[in-house]
Amino acid sequence: MELQTLTFLFVGLSFALYIAIAIKSRADSTEEFYVAGGHVHPVFNGMATAADWMSAASFISMAGLIAFLGYDASVYLMGWTGGYVLLAMLLAPYLRKYGKFTVPEFIGERYYSKTARIVAVVCLIFISFTYIAGQMRGVGIVFSRFLEVDIISGLIIGMCVVFVYAVLGGMKGITYTQVAQYCVLIFAYTVPAIFISLQITGSPIPQIGFGGTLINDSTYMLDKLDLIVTDLGFTAYTGGSESTINLFFLTLALMAGTAGLPHVIVRFFTVPKVSDARRSAGYALLFIALLYTVAPAVGSMARLNLIETINGEDSTGVSYSEMPGWFKTWENSGLLAWYDHNEDGKVQYAKGSPIDGKVPEFDETRGEQGERILTNPSEGQIAEGAPFANELYVDRDIMVLANPEIAGLPNWVIALIAAGGIAAALSTAAGLLLVISSSISHDLMKSTFAPNITEKQELMYGRIAITVAIVIAGYLGANPPGWVAETVAMAFGLAASSLFPAILLGIFSIRVNRTGAVAGMLIGLIFTFCYIIYFKGVFFEPFAENIEENWLFGITPQAIGGLGMILNFVVALTVSHFTPAPPQKIQEMVADLRVPTGRF
């Protein structure tokens, strides 16, 4: 069957499944809507958390980053899994014991202050929107390639589907649809990886394969890759080029951000017991690790395959007309481009930028071999250590989707990847929308501005909030601030610097009071957000160029959340030290949180 037909079939079938589950488990009480009545088994909860958690950034973008950055991208692997250790030990069981609906609710009660609650809602909205912007770009990329529509139409289709099951289903719908989505996405991710691992190393287990030898050679695959990339002028694949301090802060921001992400924390409100919350975090990481340990294998093999396809057997390049079909399809979507700097008619890939600016721009005409004509080529200088000028632009976010095609796998495997990518992006977007809706309807309307509304009206406000949020997310998806994984990393930085310290101190310190917590959250959020905006702009031109000379201590905007978090801790503890201790009632509440049995 044609690739396009297969893609429609796979994506259509998986959508039908999610929507059927969502409709079947329609929520009718507020508690069902938000936390599925507290009756979800830890294994299912772990799977749903994993699907909720593994977004377009994990599925589509991460292996691509690993492919191009090698060792330096390890921070994403460690950061996005290590956070679960913090979650299981420091937050999940105690928040389950507390047992209410939302994170701002906890912060508001622990710090006995409406201001604290509103500040927490503001933090949460900033985090969720940044995160969703990344997801929507992921959806756009998948649709633009496989359904051959432009990114905007893809976004609109995605927005409609998310709307249907987030609004109709509520949390229970989402919990079970997310279990289904996890199954789809993990199958879609591992099957092509197994095929490629077999092709390159002969091992059916990718985690072992990429540490093995090549299939018809006794060289280790990673040694071969190191050799090839250094010959092309890049730093060795297994060696790093980023500063240790930046790697440290980025890992820290991603880990703490994972533990502080509201839509993940909320998951642990849905299990029956405190011990189940700990178990759920373990299962969630188990299901996540299945993908995360495969990703580095996918990345390294994709890089090897890409270089060998582009530069050919003798490493001098292959002419454009001999390039396989995937090369031209991605070129048509504008996410891949070629400019013949040395005018030999062959495509060559090495270190250096083939274009002037961030993205390639094309005019309407075609070149001699049918290639699209770039209107913003670079000067074509040969980078230090490279044998020739780089002529190939590849968007990092397409690597996972293009990988099975580059490896020449059958069409059904490629169609499967599309279904998986959409599942990953949609499941996370839906979870985030739910958190936005519950914090607006529950934390802002019901508890602060309109306390007299009925349960029905509260649900209605929640649904209105989802609708508004989807529209804004769609806009952000069309105008994203960076690569999918980069944008998402910034959301984690915001979570790490604002909510994580407030929740952690709320449990582990009896002394931290409302003044300290509010000051800490505000300073952490404002510092991190301003630093990102300063270099990234988003809604306007950036104030300073995003280069190392301008960064504070050499820390990138993605990593700044780590420093913001430390600032938050210091401010919260210092301010609390000089202001009165929390009331007796709150101190008792904290003591009570720490024990699984009892009052709550």
């Binding site: 290590g82 540490g211 790697l247 011990s275 700990r278």
Partner: protein, 85 residues
């Protein structure tokens, strides 16, 4: 022992366990994967340089073991202090 004292003792043991786990958590990720990666890369594990392996594989396996170890110990602790729910 009064209920309050039991709870305090339970919490102290929990904190000790958490700190132990977090030290290991820090060592396998920031230690082996970031700070001492160059040194560990001198050692090989099949086709992997050890530091690289820790950064991309080993740390994740260690995290998993850590969480399940913590859960196992906490369930014991819950029983010991009769606070299991």
């Amino acid at each position: 022992m009064s209920k309050e004292l039991t709870h305090k003792a339970y919490w102290r043991e929990n904190i000790k366990l958490i700190l132990t786990c977090l030290v290991i958590w820090f060592l396998v990720s920031f230690g082996c994967g970031v700070f001492f990666v160059e040194e560990l890369n001198q050692i090989r594990l099949g086709g992997f340089k050890l530091g690289f392996w820790f950064a991309q594989q080993g740390s994740i396996y260690s995290f998993l073991l850590l969480i399940f170890f913590y859960n196992y110990k906490m369930n014991q602790l819950d029983k010991k202090y009769q606070v299991n729910d």
